[in-house]
């Protein structure tokens, strides 16, 4: 099959909203979206805590988070695999090769990105904002909320950067999800498998969708970064 033929068939799958294609996209969005929500729910309060409170191990925690932003997905996959495998400490829960295991792995990947970039966004808010809200009679909690609100575009950038990272990764989810058709098969793992099998039309169709999602994510990131720069110039 030529590249043109594969491309035409891929477009045909997209245009006709092929059932298998849609299921894979929906599962990908579900897994990555859930992982991102959990990472944000834990990471954002932590990034605010690191931004507002000074304590002895703060610098070390921030350094560790920065380092973990570049965690190799396959290492995370291995770690979660060892944790959830039958002989692992959490093996009794029986989560290996389920979407839940994939969510756990992607949460671990997204968490340092959300927390680290969220923290950077919060500490880069001009200190004058804190002083201005204090002079207007804000309580310490209201001051913190004001700073977080001023950092909102930076926080959105962190959120989108993390989403981009987990949507595109293959190593972690392949290791813990197993690429089971109709159950744990997502866009990236399907592309890898179908390419191996020589079924380029589905792989290409998913590649196009993944590129489109990536384009949307990066466009949003660009918009938020521009707004953030505009805000920093106050």
């Amino acid at each position: 099959m030529s590249l043109i033929d594969a491309l035409l068939q891929a477009l045909n799958l997209i245009v006709h909203l092929d059932r298998e294609l849609i299921d894979i996209i929906v599962l990908s969005l579900k897994v990555s979206g859930t992982a991102l929500i959990i990472a944000t729910l834990v990471g954002l309060p932590l990034s605010a805590f690191l931004g507002f409170k000074k304590f002895p191990l703060r610098g070390l925690i921030i350094s560790i988070l920065h380092t973990f932003m570049g965690l190799p997905p396959v290492v995370v996959g291995l770690f979660v695999y060892l944790l959830l495998s039958r002989s692992g400490p959490l093996g009794f829960i029986g989560l290996l090769y389920t979407p839940s295991a994939m969510i756990i792995a992607q949460t671990i990947l997204a968490f340092p990105i959300v927390t680290s970039l969220g923290h950077s966004a919060i500490v880069s808010v001009d200190p004058i904002i804190k002083q201005a809200s204090m002079t207007l009679g804000a309580t310490p909690f209201q001051v913190s909320l004001t700073i977080i609100r001023e950092a909102r575009y930076g926080i959105m950038s962190a959120f989108i950067a993390a989403f981009g990272r987990v949507m595109a990764e293959v190593g972690a989810i392949l290791t813990v999800g197993g690429n089971i058709a109709g159950y744990t098969r997502v866009m990236t793992t399907t592309i890898a498998l179908e390419t191996d099998k020589g079924n380029f039309e589905l792989a290409l169709a998913l590649g196009i969708i993944l590129l489109a999602i990536s384009l949307i994510i990066n466009s949003l990131l660009h918009v938020f970064q521009k707004k953030n720069i505009a805000g920093a110039g106050r």
Binding site: I129, A132, T135, G137, A138, R234
Partner: protein, 217 residues
């Protein structure tokens, strides 16, 4: 007048550099008090300490309310306000910037909007209420800062160099606003300026600061 201020022997150093040396000041009557002196004489530091934004190294700030010393708590902080030279504009609309002080006091919706609009009209920014606050000129930003402080009806308003970075036209507008505030309310204004002529134009009481000390009042 219900709130008076006494600053007693205030001392402040930054990195071993003594900025204020036993600075004292008090007032019991409302009016416009202007702290003047050359750049770096310590007047802004003194203003920040008087407005409770910073703590002195030594000395004491006492607020007197109806004959009693007031606790330096949130309640007292909400009776005073300071407009900083770099105002600290929030990245939202002009109107929302002004309503901020009301929102944190639990005043919301139509009531907050009407009060904020009145304050904006007072400083001549009514037509810009829906505009992004970060798009204002530096003169307009200062006026927004004053509106944002006025809307919460402070008993004492501190203004730190309100015209230092604005053009002649906006300087005149801000001076008019300061004089109008005095006419329309019992507000006490304590401001700093390095412009001796402006100090004379505005002051009911002129306070000169030199080398970290109040030298005349």
């Amino acid at each position: 007048m219900s709130l008076g201020l006494e600053a007693v022997n205030i001392q402040k150093s930054y990195n071993g550099n003594e900025v204020l040396k036993e600075c004292s000041f008090s007032f019991i009557e409302s009016g416009i008090y202007v702290l003047t002196g050359t750049n770096g004489c310590g007047k802004s530091t003194f203003l920040r300490i008087c407005s409770l934004l910073e703590e002195p190294d030594r000395g004491e700030i006492r607020y007197v309310s109806r004959g009693n010393t007031a606790e330096k708590d949130l309640g007292l902080r909400r009776r005073i306000s300071l407009v900083l030279p770099k105002v600290g504009i929030f990245n939202t609309t002009v109107l929302r910037n002004v309503s901020y002080g009301l929102t944190i006091r639990g005043i919301k919706g139509r009531e907050a909007e009407q009060k904020a609009l009145r304050a904006l009209e007072f400083v001549g920014l009514g037509p810009k209420k829906r505009q992004g606050a970060l798009t204002l000129s530096s003169g307009e930003t200062q006026r927004l800062g004053i509106a944002r402080a006025l809307v919460i009806q402070p008993e004492i308003l501190f203004l730190d160099e309100p015209t230092a970075s604005v053009d002649q036209r906006n300087t005149e507008i801000i001076e008019e606003i300061i004089l109008s505030m005095k006419k329309q309310s019992h507000l006490t204004t304590i401001m700093t300026t390095h412009d001796a002529r402006q100090a004379e134009r505005l002051a009911d009481t002129l306070i000169q600061i030199k080398d970290g000390k109040v030298i005349s009042m």
